[in-house]
Amino acid sequence: LRTALRKTKVVWYPIPVGLGIGFLGFAQLYRVRQREKARQEEQEEDDRAVSAGANGDGGEGGRPKRRKRIRPTGPWQVQVMSTLPLKAVSRIWGRFNELEIPYYLRVPGFKLYSWIFGVNLSEVAENDLHVYPNLASFFYRTLKPGVRPLASNPNALLSPADGRILQYGTIERGEVEQVKGMTYSLDALLGTAPPTSSANGVPPPKMVPVDGESSGRAQTPSEAADPKSAEDSEFANVNGISYTLPNLFSGPESQHGAPAASSMDASTTPKSASEAEVRADLALGDGSRPWYAPAKEKSQTALFYVVVYLAPGDYHRFHSPTSWVVEKRRHFAGELYSVSPYLQRTLPGLFTLNERVVLLGRWRWGFFSFTPVGATNVGSIKINFDSELRTNSLTTDTAADRAAEQAAERGEPYSGYAEATYQQASRILGGHALRRGEEMGGFQLG
């Protein structure tokens, strides 16, 4: 080998580097073009599916195609998550946490959980941890009275829960900055506000209060064309479907004779003290106009937002940040991605993808909304004054799919949410009154 190496003549000549670079550029160009073409084909196929659904002859069997699954862009972790059946995982996780823990394992188990997630056991209402039969009830624990004094400044907006301030700011041009400059639109988060004035000559959709008699129903074209009815009724939905609460998730066709008033009154009548206090507070400011009406002096007010992230070890009940009136609720049966700060940084529009309950109303300065957003481990959102609400359940998903199909059959865009109003809770205030610091509900496991 040494002889061969020594005797072999070394000849140096230039490698056509330019040819190599040219080849690499061409290969990259070809790959990008292929990918673009595949994406366009997929898009065309989806559009064909949706338009076929709109004509009601959606391909095989005459049934319009199901709603397109949410396929978010983002890094590989997000792609992997978007292929998982997150809601099924969440429900199984919930079932698992409802299994009873053996009596003697409870204290060491909850102490281990508290050590891992930083729970302050001295604040937990029950001194004896044996009273919590499983992790789900420990997770939904209450706190000792007095461990969370309310801020003394009556003009202060309170933090609704224990957690961390992830993001806050002013909303410009209807866009909320998520984290690191990623933004999503307010309409996507809260659902589109119904047009208060008919922009294109079509009057705002007829709104039906949630009560026994006028059970909600799909709006007929003649009603839609009847602008006067829009003034004297409350909000129910944007694309014309109105819901009464008990049938909120069974779709508009089976809403007649819904016992809405009784179950609604039972679950939504606020304490008279709340009502009196909230009325006094609203009277101080501009909270007398309904949430959708623009402020008199637009220049005087602005829209602000704040995002509070609750970690697994935090106290997971939430409270009213101020005295306000909840006029309506919109339930988006979305996905259940984790809402960890990491994912909030990497998944654009995460909050517009996840299951959430949007509470819309008003406080003394005008519009006010409170949106608990679910996550994989806490898929269930509970609202104390709304016993009909079901989140993270098969019923809601089925109803949402059916509502989407109905909207597709009518060739209308599906708003993405099911809606209900609390007009019955208080005729004077036109919604459910919440006092500052009053418990509103919470997040439950699974």
């Binding site: 969370r148 004094p149 309310l150 801020a151 400044n153 003009n155 202060a156 907006l157 309170l158 933090s159 609704p160 829960a161 224990d162 957690g163 961390r164 301030i165 992830l166 993001q167 806050y168 909303i171 909320v176 307010l186 988060l189 809260l190 402020a295 005087q300 007010t301 602005a302 829209l303 602000f304 937002y305 704040v306 995002v307 509070v308 992230y309 609750l310 106290y315 997971h316 939430f318 409270h319 940040p321 809402v339 909030q344 909050f351 959430r356 406080w363 300065w365 005008g366 519009f367 006010f368 909304s369 409170f370 949106t371 608990p372 957003v373 679910g374 996550a375 806490v378 610091g437 997040f443």
Partner: protein
């Protein structure tokens, strides 16, 4: 889980030049009382008007 609050509140009024230049030169209106990433407990003030 997360909670998103979206609310309407009075904007501050720009202070005239000869007024004392503090609070970012804004008079009245909504004022934040928190920082990004700050831990907060239920009942503490997020901000005030």
């Amino acid at each position: 889980s997360s909670i998103v609050l979206v609310f309407e509140a009075p904007k501050g009024r720009r202070k005239s030049f000869d007024e004392r230049w503090e609070d970012g030169g804004v008079q009245g209106g909504w004022r934040w009382g928190v920082e990004k990433g700050q831990r907060i407990k239920y009942g503490e003030a997020i901000g005030w008007v």
